[in-house]
């Protein structure tokens, strides 16, 4: 299995876009080596602005650039974009619906060794609660690149969520990326597994295990958390016996609650949310932490068996 970083997909997408989008500019807040935007700076130094350790200023500056017709991609770690600069994201960007893209890397528990202060497990919840904000959570390198390109072509604020580690490349998600559209990866009638971000590979492994046990498993991958593909979610609720959501994020406010909200209003069915429980993480290797916090295929399988 091939492993690649989603943050690499981000910067590769930016470099591709820059060729024919003269008004695309990239900002970073002194983490360019980590977000990978230094690669953009190397190729387009005149269109790169390192704001220093100033996430709040960076997001409002990005708003100003958008007001002047630029497409700014403001890049930093997910925790800093949403928690440190949450107000700037809300009032400078989301409220006036400006064409700012927030490229957030190092999201999720797999950020690892830096520990809880740097592991964004709340960022989807924060980003999606702001009106006008589109929230994209790609599952692998290629999808990250596609999401970045789609974000640039979308007129309005977009929060893009990437990880730190190298994650499995999942060929099945390399279909056309359309904001707001779920990807139906497996058809099935017994249960639906809904994944977002890097949990797509774990979801597919879980589906394989369950299929081998004789169950018919649907797998939906949602690289867009907002706007949610409501139709695909309702269909899953109607056509299967229950839903397991899988996300590398707190079970509060993320994919699981977004799905539960839609299902509860339209077609109630059993839902189990696999994700980080209501706890802060701790330092460790990405693999160790995914095990420790129950973000593995086997955890999805266990959840499914509780419904089946």
């Amino acid at each position: 299995m091939e492993f690649k970083q989603t943050r690499q997909g981000y910067v590769d997408g930016l470099k591709e876009l820059a060729k024919d989008h003269d008004n695309l500019v990239v900002l970073d807040a002194d983490v360019a080596k980590a977000t990978k935007t230094y690669e953009f700076e190397d190729e387009y130094p005149d269109r790169f602005f390192n704001c220093g350790v100033q996430e709040q200023n960076m997001l409002s500056v990005a708003a100003g650039l958008a007001l002047e017709g630029y497409i700014p991609f403001a890049s930093t770690f997910g925790v800093f974009a949403t928690c440190r600069a949450g107000d700037q994201m809300r009032n400078s960007i989301a409220y006036p619906k400006l064409n700012v893209k927030i490229g957030a890397t190092h999201c999720g528990i797999s950020t690892g060794g830096d520990g809880a202060s740097h592991q964004a497990n709340e960022d989807i919840a924060i980003a999606r609660v702001f009106p006008n904000m589109t929230v994209l959570v790609p599952g692998d390198y290629e999808e990250a690149k596609q999401a970045t390109i789609a974000a640039a072509k979308h007129n309005g604020p977009v929060y893009l969520r990437f990880g730190r580690d190298a994650y499995p490349v999942v060929e099945e998600v390399h279909t056309d990326f359309t904001i707001g559209k779920a990807k139906l990866l497996r058809e099935g009638t017994d249960i639906t597994i809904i994944t977002t971000g890097i949990m797509v590979s774990e979801g597919l492994q879980a589906a394989d295990t369950l299929s081998q046990a004789g169950y018919s498993v649907r797998v939906l991958h949602l690289p867009t958390i907002k706007p949610l593909d409501v139709e695909a979610v309702i269909a899953a609720a109607k056509e299967t016996k229950g839903i397991i959501t899988a996300e590398e994020h707190s079970i509060i406010g993320g994919l699981g609650e977004a799905v539960a909200g839609v299902v509860g209003e339209h077609h109630p069915c059993p839902i189990i949310r696999v994700g980080v429980q209501d706890v802060f993480g701790e330092s460790g290797q990405a693999d160790e932490l995914l095990d420790l916090y129950g973000l593995r295929a086997k955890n999805i399988v266990e959840a499914a068996r509780r419904i089946l």
Partner: protein
């Protein structure tokens, strides 16, 4: 020197704007009257003499931009924009009312002439700098006027912005600190001291001028001087909160309290007598 007739004209305009401010806030029974009255002379100088703008073409590319970073003072900017013709004066009656484009704090997509969303303090200066950077990238030569409150620059973001402007040599930025020494809870030097303010900005790489923010000669001449500088400029404008209405002047209680009928009528009477 600016000719005396022009200055008399600006002073008369300022009285009209101040009347509109107290009327708006009284009618809405909500809004910030003190800071708006204090900032009036600077906005009048900018919009009626200094700035290059076209009210009938709010999006004209080469216009000078004004960002009201102290976003709570919408009464003054709305009164000025309406008077300039950006939108009908009639709209002022809907200030802070449901369905109105005149929100309590500036909302750029809704209001012609409003350049940026502000309201949380500290946002406007950064946004203004981002806009100014954009103009630099395009090689444009218009100016960005950004007005901050003095209490506002207690926000850390203001100093992040101060560093940023210096790094990118944004000499197309002319900022104002509306220095009235009063903020919501009292005197700025009691709440969170800012003095010595000029050396603070200077140490961040800005050229600083200190002026009387009610003296039209000084406001206009200082802006002309600022345009000769090759670094971002901050004009510390000493002002009187509540200026023009004797019982509101230097009274912190008029920061965010609307005038009742009696106070409103007394204010209008004073402002009429002032013409």
């Amino acid at each position: 020197m600016i000719d005396e007739e022009k200055i008399i004209e600006l002073k008369k305009k300022a009285v009209e704007i101040r009347r509109e401010i107290v009327t708006m806030v009284h009618r809405a029974n909500s809004g910030h009257v003190g800071g708006s009255l204090g900032a009036t002379d600077i906005l009048v100088a900018l919009y009626y003499h200094v700035m290059n703008h076209r009210p009938d073409q709010p999006d004209w590319e080469n216009r000078d931009r004004f960002v009201l970073s102290k976003g709570h003072c919408t009464p003054v900017i709305y009164a000025v924009l309406a008077d300039c013709g950006y939108f009908p004066k009639e709209d002022l009656k809907m200030f802070r009312r449901p369905g109105s484009h005149l929100q309590g704090h500036p909302h750029q997509p809704k209001t012609p002439g409003i350049e940026a969303n502000t309201g949380t303090l500290g946002l406007g200066i950064s946004t203004g700098l981002g806009m100014a950077l954009g103009a630099k990238l395009r090689g444009q030569s218009h100016y960005y006027y950004i007005m901050c409150g003095d209490g506002e620059i207690q926000e850390g973001q203001a100093w992040e912005a101060a560093m940023f402007a210096n790094k990118y040599k944004l000499d197309n930025v002319i900022g104002f600190v509306d220095r009235n020494y009063l903020q919501t809870d009292g005197n700025s030097e009691d709440i969170m001291p800012l003095d010595p303010l000029a050396p603070k900005w200077e140490s961040f790489g800005w050229k600083v001028f200190t002026i009387d923010g009610h003296d039209y000669q000084q406001i206009i001449q200082t802006v002309e001087d600022a345009k000769q500088e090759t670094q971002p400029v901050m004009i510390i404008a000493n002002t009187t909160k509540g200026k023009g209405v004797s019982f509101m002047e230097n009274e912190v209680s008029w920061h965010g309290t609307p005038p009742d009928k009696e106070a409103y009528e007394n204010a209008l009477k004073e402002l009429t007598d002032g013409i």
